[in-house]
């Protein structure tokens, strides 16, 4: 799967598991799976597969 533009060798994992792998808190991020926003309530169930495109986005300083 592609996560934030990087090819990762992962398959069939939940969003929660992916976030844990990168020590990211679900509260601090928004996830797009194949250009669709995934509601936070679905992070525990939603599975991501090999060919998926995932974007993990967060808030930063900006004007």
């Amino acid at each position: 799967m592609q996560v934030n533009g990087k090819q990762l060798d992962l398959d069939n994992i939940t969003i929660t598991a992916l976030l844990e792998q990168y020590q990211l808190s679900a509260d601090n991020v928004v996830i797009e799976l194949n250009a669709e926003i995934v509601p936070k309530e679905q992070f525990n169930q939603k599975l991501i597969y090999q060919g998926d495109q995932v974007e993990i986005v967060s808030l930063f300083g900006g004007g």
């Binding site: 996560v3 934030n4 533009g5 990087k6 990168y22 020590q23 990211l24 808190s25 509260d27 601090n28 991020v29 928004v30 797009e32 250009a35 926003i37 509601p39 936070k40 974007e55 993990i56 986005v57 967060s58 808030l59 930063f60 300083g61 900006g62 004007g63």
Partner: protein
Amino acid sequence: MSKLQIGGTDLDSRLLIGTGKFPNKQIIPRVVAACGTQVVTMALRRVDLSSQEENILEYIPKDRILLPNTSGARTAEEAVRIARMAKAMGCGNWVKIEVISDNKYLLPDNQETIKATETLAKEDFIVLPYMSPDLMAAKRMVDAGAAAVMPLGAPIGTNRGIKTRELIEILIDEIEVPIIVDAGIGKPSDAAEAMEMGSAAVLVNTAIATAEDPVAMAEAFSLAVKAGRIAYEARLGVESHQANASSPLTGFLFEGGN
């Protein structure tokens, strides 16, 4: 000083601030407190998977309105996508639309901005579009549902002041929603100038964030914005080329002499 109303919310402070370029995030709550701003902008970006980063929201007092921007968007479609992500993030429904594809001057694309404004206003966002000051574009943004219009004073981050003054004055005259001067404001006196002109508010980031003492500079901007607004509401006196004496013109010692 009258209150500013945007999207049905009354605001006491007419200074909006951005959170970019500060020397550290820890200073942000002190800056917010020093200037009393009620609206704070931030940006969305991809998380860097190789580094642990803190959430900027932890540094913004909870009672402030969050104004996520769509920086990084080059098209209306991308801006809409970023705005929806910001909402999903829990930022509320305010959004500053920023659509830019010019990398040298970072001038906004008014046409794409109008399109994004229309889509997001229909989705019940409170939309504040950042724009190049142009009357027809501003009118179209208002027709599309913009809650305020944010013309630039000078290109982003340049600290050059209100170079677009005459065009902004036309917007202030002709546009019924609040005009918020965004970008280019480099000094408190620039902010005061924008407010004296009748701008409803100003958005400042670089000038505060890159000052040697951002907390003190935030206070200076807050005072300048208040002074400018009060001056505007008090109606400035008329300018003239010839002198008009402020003291009585009758002679003091020699009147009726000899």
